[in-house]
């Protein structure tokens, strides 16, 4: 194990020199023990993501998207290969990589407000600034009136919005989001998409965003990773060149529709028989 890691390190050092990449996944694989056997969830993923990239990951259910994000966050570790962020191997989670989880993970003993402020207080930010940021995000997610509510008093979509605000308010360098807008209505979703784009441009952060909504992916991303299942792997990387000042109108442009169609085809291509042949 140790030896292998050393070898990986060398290879990676090489990769790192080759380009100033923000995130590097080198030969990443993940398998789970099930009973006595092994189940390979992800195999041989090689990805590089540049600084200030907005990377979207799409792929069939169960292809390993959540697993990948967990590994980027340092919450789980690859059983093969390694991950580098900022030229440092990922060995633990940290505030530099904020995450919005697929399930609701609000702290149930904190009010909406306290949930949002959690990371900021940890950083010992001045109270006035904390208040400002909280107010701004409460406004953005339209939950100002619910600032004193506990998570158990919120609907599914409301919880999800709070979780998004909590992660973003913390201003992480890398933002990892696992189907964050899944339980939102179209209107709120659109608003959140615009907000996220805006934020990303302003903060120059790097975002890795998992979604099933191809429209969403094309609208948001600078790069889309299309994944395949059994075992999970990256099928193709699509660069999205539709300009960076996107408004909702961009969705009606020819380029956009072409891209959406292309990715759709990539995804649906012989999927029917695929999932059953593990």
């Amino acid at each position: 194990m140790m030896q292998k890691t050393a070898a990986d390190d060398m290879e990676a050092a090489f990769a790192v020199n080759a380009a100033a990449n923000k995130i590097i996944l080198h030969n990443v694989g993940k398998s789970y023990k099930i009973g006595k056997g092994n189940f390979t969830a992800i195999a041989n993923v090689n990805i590089t993501i540049q600084d200030n990239d907005f990377a979207c990951i799409v792929g069939p259910s169960g292809c390993g998207k959540s697993t990948l994000l967990h590994m980027l966050a340092g919450l789980d570790f690859p059983t093969q290969g390694a991950i580098w962020i900022n030229n440092k191997k990922v060995t633990s989670p940290g505030a530099d990589r904020g995450m919005v989880f697929q399930t609701y993970t609000l702290f149930p003993w904190m009010t909406v407000e306290d949930n949002i402020q959690f990371g900021l207080k940890l950083k010992k930010m001045p109270i006035k600034q904390i208040e400002e940021i909280t107010d701004k995000y409460l406004e953005d997610i339209k939950l100002t009136k619910f600032r004193k509510s506990y998570p158990k008093e919120l609907s599914g979509g409301m919880k999800q919005r709070v979780a998004i605000a909590r992660a973003l308010a913390n201003q992480p360098e890398v933002i990892l989001m696992d189907e964050p807008f899944g339980a939102l209505d179209q209107y709120t979703k659109n608003r959140m998409q615009l907000l996220l784009r805006e934020l990303w441009q302003k903060e120059q952060s790097t975002i890795v965003f998992v979604t099933h909504d191809i429209d969403e992916a094309v609208f948001l991303a600078t790069k889309i990773f299309v994944m395949d299942a059994h075992p999970g792997k990256v099928k193709e990387v699509v660069n999205i060149g539709i300009g960076e000042n996107r408004t909702l109108e961009v969705k009606d442009t020819f380029e956009f529709i072409q891209l959406r169609k292309y990715i759709n085809e990539l995804l649906y291509d012989h999927q029917d028989d695929d999932e059953e042949n593990i």
Partner: protein, 264 residues
């Protein structure tokens, strides 16, 4: 809602109280009838009236009050010490497998040991003063507490911890800001269980050179088989227990308004 078969439906608070009251009354009436009617010898079960008389006498001459006070003191001190040490150690045990490897097997080993067996040793180590009684209560609860609190720590959902790491908590801030608040309701439930346990050690603790306390009163009464005195001691302890338990239940409800299970 006649055909509502859902479980854990909360009933009206008044109804609850009434059912409880009726239960206790039936209990007392049964006791009264059985003893007053002479169906059971006083030796097996003292007459309700003579127990009440005993309690009244104790109240009148102040002995009941002072015995209760000293017993509460001993239990509280012993229990407080066990909490002050046991809860932090338990949390560490639940958080770090290396700590667990040191502490857990030792506690598993010790917690099975019958506390009365330690009484002579406690006297050797701690003398025969108040400290000895407090230590008996401590020994009886401490090791168990560590294991139960460690279990509680293990039951905190991993998701919450993951979320907190990504927001920037490190080892200790995760424990203080996330794990402990999340464990809150469970810790209180555990303490509620444990304080009852502490009381059951009262008689053992007051084996050690005491001439006061409810446990002592019971022991003394046992010597002369004064069943009425035994029963009044037992009843007073039971009553204190009931109050403590209700107090804890209320406290848990108040302390954790955010918890769906404490406040359904």
């Amino acid at each position: 809602m006649k055909d509502d078969f859902r479980l854990r439906q909360s009933i009206n608070k008044k109804t609850y109280m009434m059912i409880t009251a009726v239960t206790f009354i039936i209990f007392l009436v049964f006791w009264y009838v059985v003893t007053a009617g002479g169906f059971v010898k006083a030796m097996f079960l003292p007459a309700l009236t003579s127990v009440l008389k005993n309690l009244a006498e104790g109240t009148a001459d102040g002995s009941l009050g002072s015995n209760t006070a000293i017993s509460i003191y001993r239990i509280t001190m012993g229990f407080a010490a066990a909490v002050a040490l046991g809860v932090p150690i338990g949390i560490l045990c639940g958080c770090f497998q290396k700590v667990e490897a040191v502490i857990s097997p030792l506690c598993e080993f010790i917690r099975y040991m019958p506390v009365p067996a330690f009484v002579p040793l406690v006297m050797v180590w701690a003398g025969i003063g108040e400290m000895a009684k407090i230590i008996v209560v401590f020994i009886g609860t401490f090791f168990q507490m560590i294991l139960m609190i460690a279990d509680d720590a293990r039951l905190v959902p991993e998701d919450l911890l993951s979320a907190s790491y990504t927001l920037g908590t490190k080892r200790w801030s995760t424990i203080f800001k996330v794990l402990i608040p999340a464990m809150g309701p469970k810790i209180m439930l555990t303490l509620r269980v444990m304080i009852g346990w502490a009381w059951t050690y009262l008689v053992v603790a007051e084996l050690v050179a005491s001439n006061s306390g409810l446990g002592y009163t019971i022991l003394k009464a046992q010597h002369f088989f004064k069943t009425d005195a035994i029963f009044s001691g037992i009843l007073v302890i039971g009553f204190l227990g009931l109050i403590t338990d209700r107090f804890f239940a209320l406290l848990i409800k108040r302390m954790f308004p955010w918890d769906e299970r404490s406040n359904p």
